[in-house]
Amino acid sequence: MAEETQMRESVKPFRKRKSGHKKGSNFKKKQKQFLGNKEKVKKIDPRLKKLLRKKARDYNSDDDNEDETAHASEDDNADSMDDDVSSDDGKEKKNLGIEIEGSENEDNDEIPPGITKFSEGCRAFRIAFKSISKKAISDDSLGPVLSGHKTLVAEKLAEEVAERRVKGEAKKEKHLVGEKGHVKPANYLDAHEKFLISVATKGVVKLFNAVNKAQNAQKGLNPSRSKDAKVIKKRRKERFFSELSKTPVVDTSTKVHASSGEGPSWAPLRDNYMLTNSKLKDWDKMPDKVVHDDIGRMSEDSSSDDD
């Protein structure tokens, strides 16, 4: 007992000092004021009071832990010490009380009259605390939650999970929409692919053969050399003109056949006279030719008629 009280006493000033320290220079002022008149103190700002109370709670919560461990060890040792512990707890409570009511009677060294009440109340507190600490904590996914709103917390977590799932689904859907039409090709070549490749191959072969045919003719000539380029150009020109000289005969014959059925046989009477002809350059020489042609044909026709 004696040791304990000593301990308490040794602890007490430290605590006080600390609490005083926290309050800072204001505290001393208060003291002075307090000595002067008690009524002023009661008019303390409610906000400040609240803050002080909060501070005190924070401060003591740390100490609570220490005391708890001490309390546990003591509990293990002996039950007979219970009273003592209770007083210890009482002290704790008292401390708290002092903190809260600090503004009223801080400097009083004598034990305040409310202390006995506290010790009684503390017993109840102790019992309550003991019952709590003895409780087996269920290993929930939530962990140790002391609050009575366990269901509320669970609901909130479930809601979060559901929300996340909805979000994930939306994301997946968006991804699917984005991937629309995207197809991974098969590892093997199916019939359709083979057909396409054969078509493409045919095209390539055709081109290569054409190139071979064209370039074999001009073998030994380098198109990037100007001398050879001239020769190539000349050859190409010749070929072009030879092609031209071939085709017009066919063209005119087809044209004549097409037009002869529709319009009058004499060229200038036709609707498309001079319009379809590409050689508009020599328009002044043309009519004679056409006339000649017509005459020639006429004579042929007549001859055939005669026959």
Partner: protein, 327 residues
């Protein structure tokens, strides 16, 4: 006396030559078509990859690293296209129903709109192959283009063929080097389904009539394993494995005009082998517009222009979104 005309000539000639080098083939003198591939609206990741693949396909006459911003309108691209000599636009867009590809000639149109039914990326195609092939200079030359099945005489198909023929530089048979023909783009029109298969292959030439072992020996430049052989001549004379798939592709053999690499010599027979590079697309021609993403509708898959207008008035769902994209 002599100086003055010289100077004059230089003054006149130089700028013209420069311009020609920029836009015109130096041998044939044809105008080289150039293209932009870009997107309207926001694209999902796979389609952005497809855009990149298409740019690679359009190489070398395209802007590979074309950056586009959200606020870039079609007009911005058009303004840049003029001085750069860009003649074609390939525009990717996406609606809720499907992705779309629009192919347009730049200043005036027309615009072909294709619905992309299915597509696979180049990466997917490479993944599906055992040995994907990508030689270094694969993308240094423009691809050949093969259009098949378009010759049914319908007007819109004719326009499509013309459009795609002009999207790549024309080949002059007299001057083309076979080594520049590395890739081929195939567009195959299916009459029954009205779908166009879009494929992209690389061209590989192999000498015919040589055993596989010899071919590999020449190609790889590695010392062959002769441990099991009695004599060096065995390496040449010993028959390889029986399954050499040379018998079935008689049609795919070519005699070359000039040498092509180390292995394929001129006037020897070579087999043409194609390997897919990707991307792969299944397209459907949906509509043709006269202007650049605007103007009269020349052809529409879903009825005539006037009918479609009524339809769009009734339920402007897809097309409204599409039009917004284009503006």
């Amino acid at each position: 006396m002599a100086r003055i005309p010289n100077k004059k000539r230089k003054m006149f000639v130089k700028p013209i030559v420069k311009k020609k080098q920029a836009n015109v083939d130096h041998i044939t003198g044809d105008k080289i078509p150039k293209s932009f591939v870009f997107a309207r609206g926001k694209l999902p990741g796979s389609l952005r990859q497809l855009q990149m693949d298409l740019r690679k396909l359009m190489l070398p006459y395209t802007a590979l690293k074309l950056k586009e911003k959200k606020r870039n309108s079609l007009k911005d691209f058009l303004n840049v296209a003029g001085p750069m000599g860009v003649s074609h636009f390939l525009i990717l867009s996406k609606t809720e129903t499907a992705p779309y590809l629009r192919v347009a000639r730049t200043p005036q149109g027309p615009t072909l709109t294709f619905k992309i039914h299915e597509y696979s990326l180049a990466a997917d195609v490479a993944q599906s192959q055992l040995r994907p092939r990508c030689p270094q200079d694969l993308f240094k030359n423009a691809p050949l283009i093969v259009l098949s099945g378009f010759g049914s005489g319908e007007q819109h198909l004719k326009l499509t063929t013309v459009m795609f023929q002009n999207i790549f530089p024309a080949i002059d048979i007299n001057t083309v080097k076979l080594s520049s023909c590395q890739r081929i783009v195939l567009l195959n029109y299916n009459k029954d389904t009205k779908l166009i298969d879009f494929r992209h292959y690389s061209i590989k030439l192999q000498p015919v009539g040589v055993s596989r072992r010899l071919r590999k020996f020449v190609q790889n430049r590695q010392v062959p394993d002769l441990r099991n052989l009695q004599d060096v001549s065995d390496f040449v004379t010993k028959a390889g494995y029986g399954s050499e798939s040379e018998g079935d592709d008689e049609a795919a053999t070519v005699t070359l005009a000039n040498d092509l690499g180390r292995v394929n010599k001129a006037s020897t027979k070579s087999a043409v082998k194609l390997q897919e590079i990707g991307p792969r697309m299944v397209l459907q021609l949906v509509k043709i517009e006269e202007g650049l993403c605007s103007g009269d509708v020349i052809f529409s898959e879903y009825g005539t222009a006037s009918e479609q207008r009524q339809e769009t008035n009734q339920n402007n769902e897809e097309d409204a979104g599409d039009d917004e994209d284009s503006d």
